[in-house]
Symmetry: C2
Subunit: 125 residues, 2 copies
DNA sequence: CTGTTATTGCTAATGATATGCAATACGTAG
DNA sequence: CTACGTATTGCATATCATTAGCAATAACAG
């Protein structure tokens, strides 16, 4: 049930969002239970915790489902909060390069680009 | 006093680290006060909050002082927790490029590369 | 059907951070 | 130097996300 709801959510969600979505499906699950299950789903590679530095002051952490999706990072509008997924291989290559320069083996990364989306540039220039 | 201690700390610190460091200097400051002052220092561009996705589960957020230092990102060893600062302009250029492709004006970014440092590669291969 | 184990919900603990408020330090005008 | 208004502090307490304890229930094997 939890899995099903997660896979039908299109974007970033908090544990509470999940609870609401579950309730909408007629399934009343305690928040505790959700919190207890999220780590398993994360380890299983079904969801990923994506807390944005930019928003993390106060508020629950967010997740997104990544099952079957290719790796991506996010572009975030500081004004409207809109999040855009992108994939840019050249960036990944350069990150590898940086790691190599320091003798590191790169395992993963967290990257978040913060700016103004086209609409917000117009409305607040 | 707070400022002085911060500038003498070489690396990432939590609010509690600050309290300890202050106490070492004979200055007993309540944690509350430290929490109240950190945002000002952050707005003033003296410190920057650098919570690592990789470590954030449980535990206080960390800051680093950036006053007078050039922009940099971090390479983090997942095994020993060692943090290395780096600067790699080509990466920044590509980030700009990604933003442009999506019509965004890039304001800043948060990037954290996670891997294994040279020492930890040997000891845990 | 019955005993065993895993999962749930509820309530209460935890830990980081924020807030209310009274006490104190500070800065300035006289 | 002194009196007063403002800003800063400490303390105790609140808040909020997350976790842990535990008893009740569901799932499941024999």
């Amino acid at each position: 049930m939890l899995l099903d709801v997660i896979c039908n959510l299109d974007f970033h969600f908090t544990p509470e969002d999940l609870q609401t979505a579950l309730a909408d499906q007629g399934c009343n699950m305690a928040l505790t239970t959700i919190y207890r299950n999220l780590p398993s789903l994360e380890n299983a590679g079904i969801i990923r915790r994506t807390t944005f530095m930019e928003e993390q002051e106060r508020g629950a952490s967010t997740y997104e489902h990544i099952w079957g999706k290719p790796h991506h990072d996010h572009l975030l509008c500081q004004n409207c909060g809109q999040k855009i997924e992108f994939q840019y291989d050249a960036l990944e290559v350069l990150q590898e390069e940086v790691a190599r320069q320091h003798g590191f083996t790169l395992l993963r990364h967290h990257m978040e680009l913060v700016g103004l989306c086209p609409q917000c540039q117009e409305s607040a220039p």
